[in-house]
Amino acid sequence: MNPDIARLTARTLLGQRRTILVVLLALLPVAIALLYRFAAPADADPERFAARALLGGIVTTTILPLVTLIFATGAFGQDIEDGTAVYLLATPVPRRDIVLARFLVAWAASLAALLPAAVAAGLIVLGGSGPGIVAGFAVGIAAGSFVYAAAFTWLSIATSRALVAGLLYVFLWEGTLSGLFSGIRFLSIRQYATGIAGAFFDLPASVFQPRLEPAPAAVLAALAAALMLLLAVRRLQRWEAGEAA
């Protein structure tokens, strides 16, 4: 961890135009929650809506991976794409520290965009009831964006098309294929996030049922994040100047 690199990365992320888009994307759940508050049909079940459609639905399946993907590839990929990564790698900073600093900033930025909006949306829909749903998904989102940020940091070092590769992983592997082959739930960051969230509430299966138990989800999430970070550090250590793009 190197504070200067962290500061520079944070400045890169904040200075990008796409950050505005990301913040708008992250605020989408709040807009949906307000709409639910004012326009929902009278027979709607707020717990079911919050768990299945909002926090366990659009937030964890779409907004969480997309926001983390954009920040993680923005933190590393931008530098490599512009060819300025060489100047950073030529400094005597250990490459492990470069990876860790960028990864932590990408994770922090994703959390800053995701968590307040998700918590606010959950509170608006549930209005204080529904014990544990908001807290559970807040922890799940924090853990999920940690693993996603690690994976996408590795991707953006390993390939020049990290954004598309990440989209393929999220929407083809986690979205489509995991519906066909249920074993994929053990290899899906989305299921880790919902599994961890499931530790905080106990809802009937008709309302919301995570597909992984909390304990294996947490262990697998930690393993996946460690593996991804190791791969990212290793890939950057073997990076040769001039290899760019």
Partner: protein, 295 residues
């Protein structure tokens, strides 16, 4: 050093020659640009790393049809036949990812590296350029939607015990499949190119196209569920739901009870009209962009 006498200049014949071979003209230029773009969309003639994304996504579009063909070869008539509209519903995922991965490169390179002036200084009109590129991308998407359906038809035909009987029962599905596949390719292709043409940086274009397809999908589901009378119209504006609805309309098949088309309860033909409206709006946006862009 004495100044050169300005009157002592001479013109040398450097041997420049004008081209006096055949000039193929505008039509050949459009055709060349079309084939070049179509090859480029699949990464043919480009470096290996540019081939990975299109070929992986294309493989995902074909795999279920290939499996069906293989199972049909092994098991014969005992397998369940996949309906073409169900397959098109699945195909929309690879189509969306192909758009997110490839559409940014169709116009992006020319916009970024300012090579448009080279095109526009030839016989090509600005609108020709936009139309040729768009048509090539739509053709590439049509390969993803129609190719697997063709394989599927062969697989289903082989699986049924009597092939003539199968053809007699299902001949009406062929023109319907063709129309539905083309509608999906045209709307998805033009829509994502309209986004990509306005975002020259590849990252923005990818995010924009991905958001158009993938964020609107759960959003429309939520709006249809809680939005009441107005919210159900959201099904018109999520490309996945719009195009699946349009395919159902073409096949004249009523949607399943839990599908968003059934919950939104809008007439099926309206999806087809909205698909045409999306196509027209996107095509106009692309044409306008290339009328105005600085070459």
């Amino acid at each position: 050093m004495p100044g050169a006498d300005p009157r002592a200049g001479a013109i040398y014949d450097l041997g420049y020659r004008t081209y006096d071979g055949p000039r193929l003209g505008r039509r050949a230029a459009i055709l060349a640009l079309y084939t070049f773009t179509l090859r480029g969309a699949f990464g043919i003639g480009r470096r290996t790393s540019a081939k990975i994304v299109p070929l992986v996504v294309a493989a995902f579009a074909f795999i279920p049809a290939l499996i069906q063909l293989g199972v049909a070869a092994l098991l014969g008539s005992r397998i369940e036949i996949i309906a073409p509209w169900n397959y098109l519903g699945y195909s929309e995922v690879p189509v969306a990812l192909f758009c997110a991965g490839v559409a940014p490169d169709i116009f992006g390179r020319d916009l970024r590296y300012r090579t448009l002036s080279l095109y526009f200084s030839r016989a090509l009109l600005r609108s020709d350029y936009a139309i040729a590129k768009t048509a090539a991308f739509v053709t590439a998407l049509a390969v993803l939607t129609l190719g697997p359906l063709l394989l599927l038809t062969i697989g289903n035909g082989l699986a049924s015990d009597d092939l003539p009987g199968y053809l007699a029962d299902h001949w009406r599905e062929f023109p319907q499949s063709l129309a539905a596949g083309l509608v999906i390719a045209a709307v998805a292709g033009c829509g994502s190119l309209a986004i990509a043409a306005h975002a020259p940086r590849r990252a923005y274009a990818t995010v924009g196209v991905a958001a158009w397809f993938l964020v609107t999908l759960p959003l429309a589901g939520i709006l249809v569920e809680i939005g009441g009378e107005i919210g159900r119209f959201a099904a018109w504006f999520s490309p996945f739901d719009l195009l699946y609805g349009a395919a159902l309309a073409i096949f004249g098949h009523t949607p399943g009870a839990d599908s968003i088309q059934a919950r939104a309860d809008l007439p099926l033909f309206s999806y087809l009209l909205l698909a045409v409206a999306h196509f027209a709006a996107a095509a106009l946006l692309i044409l306008r962009r290339f009328q105005r862009v600085q070459a």
